[in-house]
């Protein structure tokens, strides 16, 4: 049966708009089941706030299954909280104990401006994908799916990278606010596959340079890998860097041929 945690002290970042000054506000959660998820704990807090005629805490969330990437939150300074390979929505209160103080903040990164309270704008990620995170294959006319055999090891490696949920924890955890893990995960997914070869270097150059417009630079801290709820390895960054270097030669060479 479930146990209950008592007297949690919550310090939550409140900010009414992008340009307003924010501050921490303290709340006490007198009792919560350890079966509750972290976001259900916030739901209970918000129901209480509405009951007191106050504004509930705004936070992004949706599937609550750890796959849509909508939820965020720095919990006690850790992106998605203390449990490894777990998004905030899958974190449960059994990971905490009675009397704990829990500090809850939004993702903090220059490229992710705060919209309100704990909600941020991550649309810079979309700009990176729009610049090249795809294989150009118009609908219709695709050849039979089994025409190109893909070795299982290659398909598996592509899938490892493709698991990225686009939550932004890597950026929030990075002291430089870099998006290298996010960008490299998509590049590696597509560049490993035979279908992705035609645009390999064009894609890499475009995505890296769009990334650099919005985000900080990578200095190999490795915080991103530790924070990633999908445990995407920083090896993908090495692959991206290699392909980016090559792109500068390859793309130039092709330009001279045209």
């Amino acid at each position: 049966m479930s146990n209950h945690l008592k007297n949690l002290k919550l310090k939550i970042w409140r900010q009414s708009g992008p340009t307003e000054k924010g501050h921490f506000e303290e709340y006490v959660m007198p009792e919560i089941s350890d079966e509750a998820s972290f976001l259900e704990m916030l739901d209970v807090l918000n129901e209480g706030l509405i009951g007191e005629n106050k504004l509930p805490v705004v936070f992004d969330h949706d599937c609550r299954e750890g796959i849509c990437g909508t939820c965020s939150l720095m919990i006690n300074g850790q992106a998605h909280g203390p449990e490894r390979s777990t998004a905030t929505c899958q974190l449960h209160m059994r990971k905490f104990k009675s009397g704990d103080e829990i500090v809850i903040e939004p993702w903090r990164a220059a490229a992710f401006p705060i919209i309100k309270d704990l909600m941020v704008d991550r649309s810079a990620f979309d700009r990176i994908i729009e610049s090249g995170g795809f294989i150009s294959a118009n609908t219709g006319g695709a050849p039979d799916a089994n025409l190109i055999p893909i070795p299982k090891s290659v398909a598996d490696a592509a899938m490892d990278s493709a698991e990225c949920i686009g939550c932004g924890a890597c950026v929030a955890a990075c002291p430089n606010g870099a998006a290298n893990l996010f960008t490299a995960a998509k590049i590696s997914h597509l560049n490993l596959l035979p279908q992705g070869q035609a645009e390999r270097y064009k894609r890499t150059e475009a995505m890296v340079e769009t990334m650099d417009e919005y985000f900080g630079s990578c200095t190999n801290h490795g915080e991103c890998e530790a924070a990633c709820p999908k445990e995407i390895s920083i090896d993908v960054i090495a692959l991206m860097n290699k392909d980016y270097r090559k792109s500068k030669l390859k793309n130039r060479k092709e330009i001279s041929r045209s």
């Binding site: 049966m1 479930s2 919560i32 089941s33 079966e35 509750a36 998820s37 976001l39 259900e40 739901d43 918000n46 129901e47 509405i50 009951g51 005629n53 106050k54 509930p56 705004v58 949706d62 599937c63 609550r64 299954e65 750890g66 796959i67 849509c68 990437g69 909508t70 390979s85 899958q90 059994r94 309100k116 909600m119 991550r122 649309s123 990620f125 979309d126 994908i129 795809f134 294989i135 150009s136 294959a137 609908t139 219709g140 695709a142 050849p143 799916a145 055999p149 893909i150 070795p151 299982k152 598996d156 592509a158 899938m159 493709a162 698991e163 997914h189 597509l190 596959l193 279908q195 992705g196």
Partner: protein
């Protein structure tokens, strides 16, 4: 408004209908396509694929989502796979067999022509997604791998670990992103549809609300596609994402689009049981687990030993006993009812005795832990995170939960609602799954509609409109809709009652679950229809939304959605009450065989019920589209 439900099924034999349609459809020349504006609401599999394809063709496309990015749509949460009649396994699959399985799985309540087309284009979907770089599971030789899903005796399900929906959605999202980057699609994030505008009988556009600043704006277009998902969250607790809602479809319904078969809802058999009253949602465990997991409950209701210590002879493998030929892969509605009956008879397992076991110990002994981990590793981890138990050591506990809704906006063969120019695709329409959807068929339908159906059928509608002006957003009908929407949202803020939208959502969900859930009776439905209006009145008088309508206000968003769930809930109960038969997910206790299976009444109910809005959801008008079965014979569904 007089309603005519013309399904526009093309002539010819079932195998030729789609080809005949395409050959006869009117075309818009490439250079003229840019003269047409198409609005797509929703960016899930159906919406993203439709928008990307129409933009590739050259149409101007505007896409709207209430999410912060199109990549968040709930298609992403589908785990198990996508069906296609590829017959790569050489196990006897074919287009006809997929067609037949889908019709039979839907308990003979879907439109034959639509389902056949779905089976035909299923093979193109896999080709298209592979070309886009979706990393489907492969065998060592490099060929695509398949597995089985419920209601099928072949292996036709393609998958990407336990994240097939994610990979397909990201594939479609990337195609959409490419078109956004090229400037062919304008993307509106964090923007919710609040009304549909019709002028002179055709859909002229939509009204939206910017969720960040509350701004209400009109958008006019030549055609509008609703790809806005299902209404499973009417039950409050469901496997749907928190923001899934019926508002877009419901607003279209209120403007004249008929709503078909709202009582056809799917209760998925394998979800993690509720553990706590504060719970906000239920989590699905993929149906693919039933390939290797065995469902059982103890024979003895007072069993107290841990699962592993209950001897074989004292276990009841309910699905294997009741449905020997399909076993643990019986279809969802049937498996759900079997689990419910076991729990109702007091043989439920777990601390609250509210689940049944899904046991992998045989599979682990037979295949080894490594193989089981390879197949289901991420699902096992997810289970452990939520339930706090390790499924390698003790069986999972599962129980049915609301998962998918087969009902939705009525559409014809072209996926157009009865309002010219207004289309519905994916889960938002009613057309392909009848009274029950088979596993791995939702992804198939979303992508079929978006990639391979709408791009053809919309051209047929647009072609005659070339160079004819359409009403702009300065038309009084748009202004009127904007004012009504502003008043509606301000109205929620102004009630200043005492209860939150979540309180009402829980209450309405409880009534619908109790009386219009897995088992329905006349008495129960009548009770629901007397309780719902009273609760709705309380909602309208006692709702509390703090904050204002001019800034980011999640409580206000919720209020609008709960309002629409109330109205839909009443219609669901009406529909369930009038359908005096059991079929698929709609199980009326009065209509069952001696063995407790669903008893259809083909004489009276082999039709689609399409409801017309009258202003009062308890007084909607029921219209019928008769279902004619030409290619297959109506039969009693048996999985024994």
């Amino acid at each position: 408004m007089t309603i005519t439900l013309n399904s526009k099924i093309p002539a010819g034999s079932i195998n030729d209908k789609w080809n005949n349609y395409k050959e006869d459809a009117k075309l818009v020349a490439p250079g003229n396509k840019r003269k047409f504006k198409v609005i797509v609401v929703g960016s899930g599999l159906a919406g993203a694929s439709a928008a990307a394809t129409m933009a590739e063709l050259g149409y101007q496309v505007d896409v709207f989502t209430f999410h912060d990015s199109p990549r968040r749509a709930h298609s992403i949460a589908a785990q198990g796979g996508i069906n296609a009649a590829k017959n790569y396994q050489g196990d006897g699959d074919s287009v006809h067999r997929l067609f037949y399985d889908t019709i039979k799985g839907g308990d003979f309540r879907a439109r034959e022509a639509n389902v056949h087309r779905l089976a035909e284009v299923s093979v193109n979907i896999i080709d298209q997604m592979v070309a886009q770089g979706v990393p489907f599971a492969r065998e060592y030789g490099g060929m695509l791998d398949n597995r089985s899903f419920g209601g099928a005796q072949v292996s036709r399900t393609f998958y990407a670990r336990g994240q097939t929906g994610q990979q397909l959605l990201l594939g479609a999202y990337q195609q959409l992103a490419r078109q956004i980057g090229l400037g062919n699609v304008r993307m509106f994030n964090r923007t919710e549809l609040v009304d549909v505008v019709t002028i002179e009988g055709r859909c002229a556009g939509i009204v939206t609300r910017d969720l960040v600043n509350g701004e209400v704006v009109s958008h006019s277009a030549h055609a509008v596609v609703m790809a806005t998902g299902g209404y499973g969250n009417v039950f409050f607790l469901s496997t749907n994402a928190m923001a899934c809602n019926v508002t877009a479809a419901w607003r279209a319904h209120r403007k004249g689009a008929t709503f078909a078969n709202p009582c056809y809802t799917q209760i998925h058999p394998t979800c993690i049981p509720q553990s706590d009253p504060t719970q906000s949602k239920l989590t699905l465990m993929s149906e693919s687990l039933r390939n290797d997991g065995r469902v059982w409950v103890p024979q003895n209701p007072d069993e107290t030993r841990p699962a592993s210590q209950v001897p074989e002879a004292e276990r009841d493998y309910i699905l294997e006993r009741l449905y020997p030929s399909y076993g643990n892969l019986a279809p969802r509605d049937i498996s759900s009812r079997a689990a419910k009956r076991s729990v109702d008879s007091g043989r439920g397992v777990g601390p609250l005795k509210n689940g049944v076991y899904l046991d992998f110990s045989d599979a682990i002994n037979r295949l080894g832990k490594d193989v089981v981990e390879e197949r289901y590793g991420n699902l096992f981890e997810m289970y452990e995170r939520i339930a706090g138990e390790n499924p390698y050591d003790m069986p999972m506990r599962i129980y049915p939960a609301s998962h998918y809704t087969m009902g939705g906006l009525w559409v014809d063969y072209e996926l157009m609602t009865n309002i010219p120019g207004l289309y519905a695709a994916g889960e938002a329409n009613f057309s392909d799954h009848g009274a029950n959807r088979l596993g791995a068929s939702a992804l198939m339908q979303g992508l079929a509609d978006g990639y391979f159906v709408l791009p053809y059928t919309i051209g047929n509608y647009l072609a005659p409109m070339l160079n004819k002006p359409i009403p702009g957003t300065d038309h009084p009908a748009f202004k009127e809709a904007e004012l009504a929407a502003q008043a509606r949202y301000q109205g929620y803020v102004d009630i200043k009652g005492t209860r939150s939208p979540d309180y009402f959502h829980r209450e309405v969900g409880r009534i619908i679950w109790d009386y219009c859930g897995m088992e329905r009776t006349q008495q129960g439905l009548e009770k629901a229809l007397s309780e719902l209006p009273a609760l709705y009145e309380e909602f309208q008088k006692d709702l509390r939304v703090t904050g204002d309508a001019e800034s980011m206000n999640q409580t206000l968003e919720k209020a609008g959605r709960v309002d629409d769930f109330f109205q839909l809930g009443m219609l669901m109960c009406r529909d369930a009450l009038e359908r005096e038969e059991s079929c698929g997910g709609h199980f009326r206790a009065e209509y069952q065989t001696e063995e407790g299976e669903a008893l259809r009444d083909d004489e009276k109910f082999a039709h689609v019920a399409a409801w017309e809005w009258t202003g009062d959801p308890t007084k909607s008008i029921r219209h019928k589209e008769e279902l004619n079965f030409e290619a297959i014979h109506l039969a009693t569904r048996s999985y024994k």
